[in-house]
């Protein structure tokens, strides 16, 4: 990366990327293997999520039903102590998580409490720790019916947006490009899902929201690259496809970098300064921008070469349909 100011009489510009010639597609099979493995983890995660509460995924109470509370104490509380207090109150299966820096205790109980589980939990702590006052910062109790409804709604939102994106791609792209773009989008979503699954992070409504937003966003990088490939395929008909693709990615490197970087600045700030409620959400967005940029370089574009061998198209076929 070179910072360079060019003064050529008519323009003054800073270029972070001066005529690069990075070979993006040469090592494509290495990246395919890496991504393939990551996607596999994502598929496993999806199956576990689909299995519901009995599956291995860490489903949030929005989907399973149950209660989650955030208690902020005056003095630190030891985990074993908190676990003991809950166990004596008949809530041995509560999941606990401590935010040590803020003396917070997050409690999750995946069973029905008739809307009063928060009172029950806070009464337990109130009695057991009279010398350590606390406030209930937030509590969420979701009955099984609502959980099912939220699950259904999230499913519908996923189906609708997937369908919408597929239809849009079908409408805008030539078939081969459409398949590659879609593959890259699914790749991004599944990889992030896999990462969340491996980190055992909670799958909540907010997570699904972030994931869908990323599905929409990650396409835009791909579109920019594909746009250039289309143009270069038209003008440089003699060149081999890998060469055209490499040249195209290199030509638009600055804009892919800049668009991703500015978005990363925004979601990164959200990640570091946005507070705990939005933390996981911002984490998905950060991952999404990174994975999305990676996939448009190393997955979507090289896939075009593979797909050309699998489904050779007529030479003059337009890569993009006219808008």
């Amino acid at each position: 990366m070179v910072v360079e100011t060019i003064e050529e009489g008519i323009v003054t510009m800073i270029e972070l990327f001066k005529k690069t010639e990075i070979d993006f597609v040469g090592k494509r099979f290495v990246f395919f293997v890496i991504s393939g493995l990551a996607v596999l983890v994502g598929v496993v995660a999806m199956i576990q999520i689909a299995r519901g509460p009995s599956g291995g995924a860490n489903l949030g109470v929005d989907f399973t039903g149950g209660t989650s509370l955030s208690l902020k104490f005056n003095k630190p509380v030891r985990m074993e102590e908190a676990r003991h207090i809950l166990a004596t109150g008949g809530l041995a299966d509560a999941e606990l998580q401590a935010v040590v820096a803020e003396q917070k205790l997050l409690v999750r109980i995946k069973k029905e409490g008739g809307g009063k589980m928060d009172t029950r939990v806070s009464n337990l702590f109130f009695k057991a720790l009279p010398e350590n006052p606390f406030v209930v910062e937030s509590s969420t109790e979701i009955g099984p019916k609502i959980g099912q409804k939220l699950q259904k709604d999230a499913g519908l939102a996923i189906i609708l947006s997937t369908l919408g994106i597929i239809l849009y791609i079908a409408f805008r792209f030539e078939f081969r490009f459409g398949v590659a773009a879609m593959a890259a989008t699914f790749h991004d979503v599944l990889v992030i899902l896999g990462i969340f699954y491996l980190l055992d992070k909670e799958i909540t409504l907010l997570f699904i929201t972030a994931l869908l937003t990323i599905a929409g966003y990650s396409l835009s990088d791909t579109v920019v690259v594909f746009d250039r490939i289309r143009e270069n395929l038209r003008t440089k008909k003699r060149e081999l496809l890998p060469t055209v693709i490499n040249r195209s990615i290199n030509e638009v490197l600055a804009r892919t970098f800049n668009t991703s970087f500015t978005t990363l600045l925004a979601v990164g700030t959200l990640f570091f300064f946005g507070g705990e409620v939005i933390h996981d959400f911002a984490f998905v967005m950060v991952l999404g921008v990174l994975v999305g940029t990676y996939s448009s370089w190393f997955i979507a574009s090289p896939l075009l070469i593979v797909l050309k061998d699998v489904m050779p198209s007529r030479n003059e076929a337009p890569v993009f349909k006219k808008a």
Partner: protein, 529 residues
Amino acid sequence: MKTSITWRVGLILLFSAISVFCLLKPMTLGLDLQGGMHLILEVEGEKAVENTVERELVIIRESLEKEKVAVKSIQREGNSILLVTPTESETAVTKILDQYPNFRIKKESGTPSDGEKKNLSLKEPEVKRILEASTSQALETIRNRIDQFGVTEPLIQKQGENQILIQLPGVKDPKRAMELIGRTALLEFKLLDEDNPMGRLLPATIEPGAEEKTVKEFQDQVPADRQILFERKVDKETGEVTKRPYLVTKQAALRGDVITDARVVIGDFNEPSVSIVFDSVGAKQFEKVTGENLEKRLAIVLDNTIYSTPTIQGKISGGRAQITGSFTSSEANDLSIALRAGALPAPVNIIQNVTVGPSLGQDSIEKGIRAFLISALLVVLYMLFYYRLCGLLANTMLCLNLLLLMGALAALHATLTLPGIAAIVLTVGMAVDTNVLIYERIRDELRKGRPVRLAIDAGYDKAFSSIFDSHVTTLITALALFLFGTGPIKGFAVSLSLGVIINLFTALVGTKVIFDIINRRWRLERLSI
């Protein structure tokens, strides 16, 4: 060219003015930002139907007694009444039952030899009416209670067939609010049955939580028209709660629907209790009940818990009574509110309860705004660094974008939620993307040696398709989230879609018009891009 510029500048100014105007009013903050409660209640309409049948049963029995028809047995089974009467009074029974058109009357097979057994079931349309009415009645009652509790701008609305959505922004004591809203507040006066020998078998006190076990244990010995209820006792010194079982009549001697007023009174020992006033019908009934049952004990039952069991010393006329029990003053206060507002027609279940404390809400606002400011600053600096004067232009458009976005949110009365703020931050990141795409295209054209003016036009033309594509795909997901998201997520979807649309406008109309204005005034030879 000139008219087109005027037109576009006018449009931008108009939108900005509207936005500023809309922003004069403060934005509504979501519950996640200002703190508060979000509840979804489900009304157990079935119970309302059963209650109606129970009430009708009493009336039917009374009219049968009035006509001197001997009733062998009458009892409720689910939504129907089973009635057994002697065969010889069949005509009289039929005549009486004709007065109750809401019931479908069916002769039961397996009729006992000396009588007629009938099944009176509530007709479908009537059941449906009760189910519907129970939700709207519950909604009215809850609205009454909340109004008296004092919450600013509560949202209470029916949702679906039997659900009630309640939002209480900024509520200070969520636990208390929920007790007040969720309790049925059915007040009943029931006579204690102390003559029944089985009553003596009951334990003096039991642990709280063991009620169900106790009821099960004595189930077989309790007569059909009696039931076991528990009195809640609090030890004044230790604060220990115990329950005492009593055998009481199943049939209430008097119900809370005859109450006209309920107030807190402070007793001699500084103990709060609730004094109630009956309407004229209730007063007469109360007088009759107390007159007929001298020296007996009357249980004051609220939501199936006995509060006190005073002995009837004499006929009480005047239509007043007092509920004592181990109340705190806020408990007594809430009870009086609930009694004034009336009982719910059926019990409600809380199926969703999201509570955010005010401190977390405040924390979220502060962090959200801080994240927004930092991200805007970083993006603005980067754009200035990379694109120089054109970066400044992009930054100006970013400001315009945010102004219009906030204005649009205010104009639509959208509620600002934390995910909504996240969407605005995301918009900051994406707003400049459009400019990046355009500027890089212009650079391509400049590198090819095109004059500045043509390069700008060509840049806009050629960047359009990718800009359009990336906006549409984001818009598709935002739409899906809007349709199926709830609460904060909807806030995210609204902010994001508005951000995307406004972004398209500011980049394609806003920046372009400034380029056009500059181009028209001066012949640009150099471009700081």
